[in-house]
Amino acid sequence: MAQDKQNKGLIGRLWAMLRRVGPWTALGLFVAGIVFWGGFNWTLELTNTERFCISCHEMRENVFKEYRDTIHYQNRTGVRATCPDCHVPKEWIYKIARKVQATNELWHHFMGTIDTPEKFRAKRLELAEHEWKRMKANDSRECRNCHAYTYMDYSKQARRANKAHPKGFDEGKTCIDCHKGIAHRLPPTEQNIGAPKSGATSESR
């Protein structure tokens, strides 16, 4: 008998367990699993929409308004990149990691860390640097969901782009190294024009 148990293997043991709990309980557990996983995923995707992002006034009044002026919001073909397309990874494991990090943003929402335009302006550089660092570290993964440089036709690009792109890739640069502030405005940047700016960064691209 003891030997039998050892020889059963995984499927055998599962079958034995099924016999023990009965078919109805097993079916119930199976359905509960589907409902639970489906519900979890559904809720997760619900937080992955533009509508959810701009349900907080911090997003709606600041970054969303700026983004509406840019090509990722409106353009000739109507293809759009909404908030999560750039700010939430597509791959499941990275997505979950980012979503866990985002609980910190919920905390700051309820703390009111950037709940006025003044507070947001004061914090813009720090927040922008977080995103630049993330993009730099993952080789601008979210950009490359749409803009795969291996498929770029340089001959279709305008003079400046067709000069800069092959050179940048040869030098091992990633999208965010040059394309900062393409969907949002930039923090104060020192550019040697006019009086020195207060709290300015020297890095602009």
Binding site: D69, T70, I71, Y154, S155, K156, Q157, A158, R159, R160, A161, N162, K163, P166, K167, D170, G181, I182, R185, L186, P187, P188, T189, Q191, N192, I193, G194, A195, K197, S204, R205
Partner: protein
Amino acid sequence: MAAAAFVLSTSLLAQDRPQSLRGATPITETSKVDQYQRGPDQGPIPRDYVQQPPLIPHKIDGYRIDLNFNKCMDCHAWSKAKEAGATKVSLTHFRDQASGAELANISPSRYFCNQCHVPQVDAKPLVGNDFKPVDALAQPGRK
């Protein structure tokens, strides 16, 4: 007619042998960057009068100039121009227009670039115009 044929034949003779787009790079080697065919936009259109602010030979859609950031300076500032392959802001822009003093930075009165500089368009004039550039700007072969 004969004269035209003569001019054509001499210009053909004067040309070198046809050059590959790869230049002189052998097929076994990777060609250098910047050898691709030129894109759809065009090089700078020459100026028509001496004081004319140079035209912008590229698109400036979405290039913002605001309190925090001046997109033009991203390439045209003296510190960026070489790397970006862009034209430097003119030396005249370092002079304070009110006092005439030379500044260490570009004068704040020059902050809004597109007050004077506009993107170039090869547009046909809507009404007839017999304006001619001064002799100093006249270039051979230009109408």
